[in-house]
C-alpha cells in the first residue's frame, strides 16, 4: 500500500471520527448506568427500532455469554422497547429521532458511544438480530475468548453472518417474545459463499447464502455483505466505517490468514427471517432508511410467494458451533 492511499485512509478515519463526535448531539440520554462498569467488562453496542419482541432473548443470550453492559441507541421505537430497556440494570440507553441512514445506519452514533465509553474494553457492535457463535462458546465464556485474543496479540475477531431461516413462508411462523429464534429459524446455507478481498480496506468481502440464492440470483453484485467484525478491543483511534463490515485503521480488518493457515473466527447467526420481517419489510419499503434504499426489502417482497420460503432441499439444520467449524464457516484456529 502506497503512502498516498495510507494517507487517504487516515483522512477518512479522521472524518469518521469527526462525524461520530458531531452526531453525539443527536443522542438524548435516557438512562446512563455506565459508572458501574469495571475495567475488564465486555460491552455491547446496539441500535434498535421497534424490536421489543426480540429484546428479552437478545439480552439473555449475551448476558449468559458474559456481556456486562449494554449500550442501546433507540431510533424512534413506538413499541415500548425503550421503556423496557430503561428498567434493566445493565443497560444504558440513548434515543434519537434523527435519520438512521444519515448516521450511516447507526454507525456514527455507536462510534461516538464507543469512543466515549468503550476505550480499553472488548466491545461487541451488534444488531438485535445477530447472535455471536465462537469456538467453544458452549463451555467458555466471552471473557475467556477475549483473554485469549489479548494473549495472542489480536485486536479484533472476524466473523461471517449466517442467515438463518425457517422452512416455509415467514408469515406462518409465530415468534414469541423471549423465545430462542433458532427454534424456528433453524436452517442455513452451508456452502455457497463467495469471497473476495477489498483492496482499499483490506477486509474480505463475503456474499452468498439464501439471500443471494433466492433474492438476487441474477444480480449477485447486489447481494448483501456477510463479512462482519463485531468484536474489537476498542481504542480511541478506531472507527467502524460502514456497519461492522470494516474498520479503520486497516489492520483491524486483517482477521484472516493469507499464508494458508486459519485464524480463529466465529459466526453471527442472523435471526432476521421470522414473521417480524413481514411488517418490517412493509414499513421499510416506505421509509427508505436502509442500505441502498432497502433494495433487499424489495427483493424480499418480490420473492415471498415461494412456498418453502428460503428453504431448499440442500439446506442444513443448525446443531452447534462444532458443526459450523466442520463445514468451514468458522475456525478454532490454534485455540485448543
Amino acid at each position: 500500500m502506497g503512502a498516498l492511499s495510507a494517507y487517504g485512509l487516515r483522512i477518512e478515519r479522521r472524518r469518521c471520527q469527526i462525524r461520530a463526535i458531531r452526531k453525539r448531539r443527536e443522542l438524548t440520554r435516557i438512562v446512563n448506568r455506565t459508572e458501574g462498569i469495571s475495567e475488564s467488562d465486555v460491552l455491547a453496542f446496539v441500535t434498535i427500532r421497534n424490536e421489543l419482541r426480540r429484546l428479552p432473548f437478545f439480552l439473555e443470550y449475551y448476558r449468559q455469554l458474559g456481556v456486562r453492559h449494554f449500550f442501546f441507541v433507540d431510533n424512534g421505537s413506538t413499541d415500548g422497547g425503550p421503556e423496557m430497556l430503561a428498567d434493566e440494570d445493565d443497560v444504558s440507553l440513548w434515543s434519537t429521532s434523527n435519520s438512521y441512514r444519515r448516521s450511516r445506519f447507526g454507525t456514527d452514533w455507536l462510534n461516538w458511544l464507543k469512543l466515549r465509553y468503550g476505550v480499553g474494553h472488548w466491545t461487541l457492535t451488534l444488531d438485535p438480530d445477530e447472535f455471536l457463535i465462537y469456538p467453544f462458546c458452549d463451555s467458555r465464556p466471552l471473557l475467556a475468548l477475549c483473554d485469549w485474543l489479548d494473549q495472542s496479540g489480536a485486536r479484533s475477531l472476524g466473523t461471517m453472518l449466517i442467515d438463518m431461516y425457517p422452512r416455509g413462508p415467514l408469515e406462518e411462523v409465530e415468534y414469541q417474545t423471549g423465545q430462542d429464534p433458532f427454534e424456528l429459524a433453524q436452517w442455513f446455507d452451508s456452502g455457497n459463499y463467495m469471497i473476495s478481498k477489498n483492496p482499499r480496506y483490506g477486509n474480505l468481502w463475503i456474499q452468498g447464502g439464501p439471500r443471494a440464492r433466492v433474492y438476487f440470483p441474477t444480480e449477485p453484485e447486489k447481494a448483501p455483505s456477510l463479512n462482519k467484525i463485531p468484536l474489537v478491543k476498542w481504542d480511541r483511534r478506531y472507527v467502524h466505517v460502514s456497519s461492522t463490515h470494516m474498520l479503520l485503521p486497516r489492520g483491524l480488518n486483517l482477521v484472516y490468514d493469507e499464508a494458508g493457515g486459519e485464524k480463529m473466527s466465529g459466526c453471527l447467526l442472523h435471526a432476521k427471517f421470522l414473521d417480524t420481517l413481514v411488517d418490517k419489510a412493509a414499513e421499510e419499503i416506505e421509509r427508505r432508511e436502509h442500505f441502498a434504499g432497502g433494495r433487499e426489502y424489495d427483493a424480499y417482497h418480490a420473492a415471498r410467494s415461494e412456498p418453502d420460503g428460503l428453504w431448499c432441499q440442500w439446506s442444513e439444520r443448525y446443531i452447534d458451533w462444532r458443526q459450523l467449524e466442520l463445514l468451514g464457516l468458522m475456525s478454532k484456529g490454534n485455540w485448543a
Partner: protein, 561 residues
C-alpha cells in the same frame, strides 16, 4: 522425606491463593514469590495467605518475561525452604497459574519412591524443536541485556550487531547448555550442589545475559549435580507455534483427569469448574484410565496445524490464502471431460457406472449450472444460476468440491461454456482434465444448418478451445492433462477411455467391457471439408481418416441406431 514448593505468581492472585491453601492443608511448606509489578491486588493476597500454615512470602523482585529475575526468585525460594525445612527431599517449582491435578499425597508418595531422581526437562540445543526466531544456540553464545517484550527494537539491534562482529561468548568450563520447561522438581542434593557451587558468581554472571535463563539455568546445571535426571516435567504445559502457553478451560476437565502429570499449566483464572474439581476434595471422583502424553500432545499439534496450514481448498472469513500459498486450490481431486458428451450418448451415466465418480453435466453452461440428474441446486445449497456462478466461478467450483468431500466429482466442459474458470482448472493440482479437441464440430454437423450460417460460430468455438488448450500446455500448469484431437480419439476410442477410468479408479484391473454409445457422426469428414471450403480450417479436429471413420463408426453406428 517430603516436598516443598516455590510458587511464582504474576496475576490472578485469587487463584494462586486458592492453590496455596491446598498446599498448606496438605502440610507442605510453600514459598510464594509475587512479581513486584503487581499493584494493589497484593495486599488482599497477603492477608489471605498470611493465615496459612507453612506459607511464607519471599522478597519481591520485578519479573519481566524471560529475565534473570525469574531464576533468582526461584533459587532464593528454594534456598529458604532447604534451610528452614531440613526434612525436605524435593523442591518443586510451580507458577500461580498451575493447578494440582492429582491429590498432593500422590505426589509425595511418588517422590518417596523416586528419592534420588530429578524431574526436569533438560534437552541439548540440537534436540530442541521449540526454539523460534533463529535463536537456539545463540541463546548461549550471544548476550541479551535488553528485555525482549519491552525493548524489542533494541533487543533486535543488539542481536544483529553481535552477529555482525561474530561474537561468541565463552561458556563456563564444563558447562553443556541444556534447555527445557521452566517447571521442575529437584532433589535436595542437586539443589544444594547448585546453590553452593564454588563458581556460582561466574555462572550467575554468565546466565544473567543468556536469553530466557529460566529455561536453561537449572536445566544445564542439573547435568553437573544431578545423579539421576529424568528429563520430563511433572507439570503438563503445552506451547503453541508462537511460543505462548496453551490455556486450559473447563472443557479440558476430562483430559486433565486422565493426564499422568501432577500439575497443569496454565489454567484460565475463570475456569471455575476446573478449580472446583481439583481443589475441592469432596468432588474428587474415582481415578480414570490414564491416557498417554502422546494423545494429549496430538490435540495440541492439531490445533497448531490448523492455525499454520489450515484446511486446503477452503476459504472463509479467517482463511484466504494468496494463490502462491496454496498448493491445491480445491479440497479434493476431481475430473473434467471436455468434448466427450458430443461424441457419446449419456457419457455421465456411463462414466458414473465405470468409475464411481459423481458426474455432473456442463457446470459452466451459459444458461445454468447443470448439476447431475438435472437438479436445480446442489450440496451446500449451491444455486444453478449462471449469474451467481459467473460472479465468482472459482469459488463456485471450490464450494462444490469442498461441499462434497468424500465423493469424487466430475463434470463436462465445452468450448461453448463460460470460459473464465479455465486458468483456475489448469493451476489446480486436483484437476484431472481430459480433452478431445474439435468435438465442437459435432453439434454443428448435427444441426444440419448450412455451412455458411455456422462458419462464424465454428471459428469462435475453435478459438475458444485453442485458448483453453494453450493454457493447459503452459509450463506452470499443475493439473493432470490429457489431450486428443477428435481424429486421434476416433481412431482408437477405447484406449483413452480405459486410461481415464484407470486413473480415476486408481487401479488398472478394471477392463472396460462396454463402450458408451456413439452419437451419430455421419458425414463428419464431408462437413469438415466444407468448412475448409468456406475458408475456415478446423485444425483442432485433426485429419479425420475416412476409412477408419467408416470402420469404427460403422461398427458403433449400428448400436447407436
Amino acid at each position: 522425606m517430603s516436598v516443598g514448593f516455590v510458587m511464582l505468581a504474576h496475576d490472578a492472585l485469587d487463584r494462586a491463593a486458592q492453590v496455596a491453601r491446598v498446599i498448606s492443608k496438605a502440610g507442605c511448606p510453600l514459598v510464594i514469590h509475587v512479581d513486584a509489578r503487581v499493584g494493589k491486588e497484593f495486599d488482599a493476597f497477603e492477608k489471605k495467605v498470611a493465615v496459612l500454615q507453612g506459607v511464607t512470602l519471599a522478597p519481591r523482585l520485578a519479573c519481566e518475561w524471560g529475565t534473570w529475575a525469574l531464576v533468582q526468585a526461584s533459587r532464593d525460594g528454594a534456598e529458604v525452604l532447604l534451610r528452614s525445612h531440613p526434612e525436605l527431599g524435593h523442591i518443586c517449582l510451580i507458577s500461580g497459574a498451575c493447578l494440582p491435578i492429582k491429590p498432593l499425597g500422590e505426589l509425595v508418595a511418588y517422590l518417596e519412591r523416586h528419592r534420588n531422581t530429578d524431574f526436569i526437562e533438560s534437552v541439548t540445543i540440537e534436540d530442541v524443536p521449540w526454539t523460534k526466531g533463529g535463536l537456539s544456540e545463540e541463546r548461549f553464545t550471544l548476550s541479551f541485556p535488553f528485555p525482549w517484550r519491552e525493548k524489542r527494537r533494541l533487543f533486535d539491534l543488539w542481536v544483529e550487531t553481535q552477529r555482525l562482529v561474530r561474537r561468541k561468548r565463552r561458556l563456563p568450563e564444563g558447562l553443556s547448555p541444556h534447555m527445557g520447561s521452566q517447571w521442575w522438581c529437584l532433589t535436595r542434593a542437586t539443589l544444594e550442589g547448585i546453590l553452593t557451587d564454588a563458581r556460582r558468581e561466574e555462572l550467575d554472571r554468565y546466565f544473567q545475559l543468556v536469553w530466557i535463563p529460566d529455561e536453561s539455568y537449572f536445566q544445564s546445571l542439573v547435568r553437573l549435580y544431578g545423579t539421576r535426571v529424568e528429563s520430563r516435567s511433572l507439570t503438563l504445559s503445552k506451547f503453541d507455534f508462537q511460543g505462548k502457553p496453551h490455556v486450559f478451560y473447563d472443557d479440558h476437565l476430562p483430559l486433565l483427569r486422565q493426564s499422568s502429570a501432577f500439575f497443569a499449566r496454565k489454567i484460565w483464572p475463570g475456569a471455575n469448574r476446573l478449580y472446583r474439581a481439583f481443589l475441592d476434595r469432596k468432588s474428587v471422583t474415582a481415578p480414570v484410565a490414564r491416557i498417554s502424553p502422546a494423545q494429549i500432545d496430538r490435540m495440541f499439534i492439531q490445533a497448531i496445524s490448523r492455525r499454520t496450514r489450515g484446511r486446503a481448498g477452503m476459504v472463509m472469513a479467517s482463511r484466504f490464502p494468496r494463490t502462491d500459498c496454496e498448493s491445491a486450490l480445491t479440497a479434493a481431486p476431481y475430473a473434467v471431460f471436455h468434448g466427450f458428451d458430443e461424441i457419446f450418448r449419456d457419457f455421465p451415466g456411463w462414466m458414473r457406472t465405470n468409475s464411481g465418480s459423481r458426474v455432473h453435466g456442463r457446470l459452466f453452461d451459459l444458461d445454468r449450472a447443470r448439476f447431475c440428474g438435472g437438479q436445480t441446486g446442489y450440496a451446500g445449497a449451491m444455486s444453478d444460476s449462471a449469474a451467481l456462478r459467473d460472479y465468482d466461478p472459482q469459488q463456485f467450483l471450490r464450494n462444490l468440491i469442498w461441499g462434497t468431500r468424500g465423493e469424487h466429482q466430475s463434470f463436462l466442459f465445452s468450448a461453448s461454456d463460460a470460459q473464465d474458470i479455465c486458468g483456475f482448472l489448469a493451476a489446480d493440482r486436483n484437476a484431472d482434465i481430459s480433452v478431445v479437441t474439435g468435438a465442437w464440430a459435432l453439434p454443428l454437423l448435427r444441426s444440419g444448418k448450412p455451412v455458411a450460417g455456422i462458419r462464424a460460430e465454428a471459428a469462435r468455438l475453435q478459438q475458444s478451445e485453442a485458448d483453453f488448450v494453450d493454457i493447459l500446455r503452459e509450463r506452470q500448469t499443475r493439473a493432470r492433462v490429457r489431450i486428443w484431437s477428435l481424429a486421434e480419439f476416433l481412431e482408437r476410442p477405447l484406449d483413452p477411455l480405459q486410461e481415464i477410468v484407470d486413473s480415476l479408479s486408481g487401479a488398472d484391473t478394471h477392463l472396460l467391457v462396454r463402450m458408451p454409445e456413439f452419437k451419430s457422426m455421419e458425414g463428419l469428414p464431408g462437413f469438415l471439408q466444407s468448412l475448409r471450403n468456406a475458408g475456415m480450417s478446423p485444425h483442432m479436429a485433426g485429419e479425420i481418416n475416412e476409412e477408419i471413420m467408416e470402420r469404427e463408426l460403422g461398427l458403433f453406428a449400428k448400436v447407436a441406431r
